[in-house]
C-alpha cells in the first residue's frame, strides 16, 4: 500500500484563533481513516483545507502526489466530498442534482447517465429519482448528498460527519454504504464525533481536539494508551449534583478518573464490575439517585477521556 494523502503540519488560523494546529497524518490507499473529535475540534476545517476549499495558513498536504495549494484542480479531480451540511438544490430532482454535479466533474453523455443510474441504485432512490429533493425526508436527502460525492468515482472520498441529525435506520444504511464503498476499493476519510462510528468503520483513527491531533493509530494501538482500563458510566437524576458524586467517587480505591458530562459521571477503573458496588454505595451516602449504569471495555471514548479529561460529547 502507498499513501494517497500526506498532510504535514497543516495550520489554519483566523486572526489570533488557531483552528488547526500542525496536524500531520497520512492515509493509505484502500483504508478508512477517521478523524474523531468533539464539535469544534477542527475536523471540518482540516477536511476543508484538504479538499482545497480553504488555503492553509501553514504546512502542506499532497493527494495522489499533487499539492493541495499548488495543484488544486488536479486534487479536485481525485477527490469526492460529502459535506457535513446538505449541499443540494432542493428545487431540482435527485436525478437533476446528480446530473448537474456529474457535469461539474466532467461527466457527460452515456457515462453520466449510467453513473447516475448506478448511484441512484446504490443510494436506494431509483424509484423517487424524479421527485424534487425538497419533498424528501432528511435521511433521503443525506443519501443524495452522499451520492453526489460518489458520481465521478473519486479515488479518495471525504465524508464530513455524514450521519449527523438523521434517524438510526438511515445512519445504519450510511455506515453500511461506507463499508461497501471501501470494499470496492475506495479510500475514505471519515470525520465523526461518534466513537461507535469510528470504531466500526476505521482501519486507523486520528483523535483531534482543540485543533491538534492528539493521538493516531489503529484502535488496538489507541486503547493500549489507557492500558486495560474499563469505563463505568453512572447516569444521575436532573436534580442531583453529578460533580458532588464524581468528587466522592474519586476518593474510592482503584478509580483512575471520574469526569462529568451533563448528568453523567464517567469513571475509568481497572474492573468496572468491581467498582460498581462502591460507587452506588457512595451515591447513596451522598443522597444521589442513580438512574442507570453502563459498563464498557477499553474503547476510543476512554482514550479520549484519558487524553483530554473530557467526554467526546463535550
Amino acid at each position: 500500500m502507498k499513501a494517497i494523502l500526506e498532510a504535514k503540519a497543516l495550520v489554519k488560523k483566523y486572526g489570533d484563533f488557531t483552528a488547526v494546529n500542525k496536524v500531520s497524518f497520512d492515509i493509505q490507499e484502500g483504508e478508512i481513516f477517521s478523524l474523531l473529535g468533539p464539535n469544534g475540534a477542527g475536523k471540518t476545517t482540516t477536511i476543508s483545507m484538504l479538499s482545497t476549499l480553504y488555503i492553509p495558513t501553514g504546512g502542506e498536504a499532497t493527494i495522489g502526489g499533487h499539492s493541495i495549494t499548488k495543484e488544486p484542480m488536479a486534487v479536485r479531480n481525485l477527490i469526492g466530498v460529502v459535506p457535513q451540511d446538505l449541499a443540494l438544490y432542493e428545487d431540482l430532482t435527485a436525478r437533476e442534482n446528480l446530473s448537474f454535479w456529474g457535469k461539474m466533474y466532467g461527466l457527460s453523455g452515456k457515462t453520466l447517465t449510467t453513473r447516475i443510474d448506478e448511484v441512484l441504485e446504490q443510494i436506494g432512490l431509483t424509484e423517487k429519482a424524479k421527485q424534487r429533493v425538497k419533498t424528501y425526508s432528511g435521511g433521503m436527502k443525506r443519501r443524495v448528498n452522499i451520492g453526489v460525492g460518489l458520481l465521478h468515482r473519486p479515488q479518495l472520498l471525504f465524508m464530513d460527519e455524514p450521519t449527523v441529525g438523521i434517524d438510526p435506520q438511515s445512519r445504519r444504511a450510511i455506515l453500511d454504504s461506507v463499508k461497501d464503498l471501501n470494499k470496492q476499493g475506495m479510500t475514505v476519510l471519515y470525520t465523526t464525533h461518534y466513537m461507535e462510528e469510528a470504531a466500526e468503520l476505521s482501519d486507523r483513527v486520528g483523535i483531534i481536539d482543540h485543533g491538534e491531533l492528539i493521538a493516531l493509530g489503529t484502535q488496538a494501538e489507541l486503547t493500549k494508551q489507557v492500558g486495560e482500563m474499563e469505563t463505568l458510566i453512572l447516569h444521575v437524576g436532573e436534580n442531583d449534583d453529578p460533580q458532588r458524586l464524581a468528587a466522592g467517587i474519586r476518593t474510592l480505591d482503584g478509580v483512575m478518573k471520574a469526569d462529568v458530562t451533563d448528568h453523567t459521571v464517567t469513571i475509568i477503573v481497572p474492573e468496572a464490575e468491581e467498582a460498581l458496588a462502591p460507587a452506588v454505595t457512595k451515591a447513596n451516602e451522598l443522597g444521589i439517585k442513580i438512574h442507570s449504569v453502563d459498563m464498557r471495555e477499553p474503547n476510543l471514548e476512554a482514550v479520549f477521556l484519558h487524553l483530554t479529561g473530557r467526554a467526546l460529547r463535550d
Partner: protein
Amino acid sequence: MRKILLIGLKDLILVIRDKAALTFMLLAPFLLTLGLGAVTGAFGSSSSGISQMKIILVNQDGGQLGRALVDLFQSADLADLVAPALVADPETARAQIDAGDAVAAIIIPAGFTDNIIPANNQAPSGEALQIEVYKNPLSPVSAGVIQSIVEEFISRVETGRVGGQVIVTQMLAAGLITPDQVNAIALEMGQRQANAVDQAPAIALQAAQSGQPQKAFNPMAYMAPGMALMFLMYTVSNGGRSILTEQALGTLPRLLVSPTNGAQVLIGKILGVYVTGVIQMFILIEACSALFGIQWGDSVGILVLVLTAVFAATGWGMLVTSLARTPGQVSSIGTAIMLIFGILGGSFIQVSIMPGWFQVFSKITPNAWGLDGFTILGLGGSLADLGKPLLGLAVMGLVLFAVSIFVFSRRSFAQK
C-alpha cells in the same frame, strides 16, 4: 465555457421553479402597469392607449404665435391624441383642471407674440412672457406629454428668434445692411418665422425628420417599460442574492471543491442572472404588446436596448451582492434600490417634468437611461438614435461590474 453555461442554466431552471419569484418578476410589473394605466387615464377611451386627452386652451395673445399654438393643438395631426377646448378665462381653465375635467390647461398670455416679435418700430418689452401649462397632478404622464408638446413649440420659436438675431447681427457686421435697415429686416424675419411655426406644427416636423410615419404617443408605452425596468432591478438583486444563498446552503463551497474555478462559478452565476433578466424583459414586452397594443418600435433597437439595460441592471445586482453579507441583506437593499430607482428613474413619474437636480440623479439608474431609449423607439426612433442611452447603460454596467469583481476578489466565498 460548458460549466459556465451549466451553472447559468441551472440558475434559470431554479428561478422558473420559484413561484414567488416568478410572480414578482412577471405578474407584479404587469399588474402595476395595468393599475397605473387605470389611474392615469390610459384606459379612458375605447382606444387601447392614451388618446383624446382633454386639454383646455386659453389664448389671450391675439398674435400669430398664440394662434399658431392653438392651431397646433386643433390640427388633424394631434386629433387622435388631444381633445382641446377653448376657454376665455385662465381662472375658469384652472378651476376645470382642479376639478379633474382635463389633464392640462395651456394659458397663452396677452402680448406673447409681441414679446417675441415686436411690432413695427417698437422695441421688445424686455419682460419675458411665458406660456403656462397648468397640469392635473393625477395625470402626470398625460400632462407631461402636453408639456412636451408646448416645450417643443417654444423651442422652435426660440430657435428661430435667436437665429434671426444672429443673422441680422452678422449681416450688419459684414456691411450687407445698414443700421437703419435692421428693424425692418428683423420684423420680416420674425413674421416669416411665425408663419413657419404656424404652417409646420412641431409634432409633424419631428415625425418628418425621423423619416418614420407619424406616431401617436401612447403613455402605456412609457409605463410598461418603466415597470419592466423597475422589476428588472428585483430580478437582478434576487439573482445576486442566489450567490449568497448558495454560500449559506453549502452548494457554493461544493462547487468550489469540484474541478471548477471560482471565476467560472461567478461568471456562470452572473450569466444566469443576465439571461433571467433578458427573458423577463422580453416576456413583459410581448405581453404588453399583446394585451395593451403597445408599439415598442424598432425591433433591433429594442433587442439591443434590452440587452444593454439588463447588463447595467445586472451590474447593480452584483454590486449589492458583493457588498452584502447575507441573502437577507441583499433582499432588503435590493428592494430599497428597486423602489428608489423606480421613482428616481421615472418608472412612476416622468423625469422630464421633475427639477433639474432630480434629472441629474436619475442618470445613476438603468431605469432612466432605459426609459429614454424606450421613449425614443416608441416615438419612431431606431437603433441609430439610441447612442446616448446605450452608451450610458454600457458605461454604467462596465463600471459596476469592475467594482463588483474587485470587491468579490477581496472576499472569500469559501469561508462561512
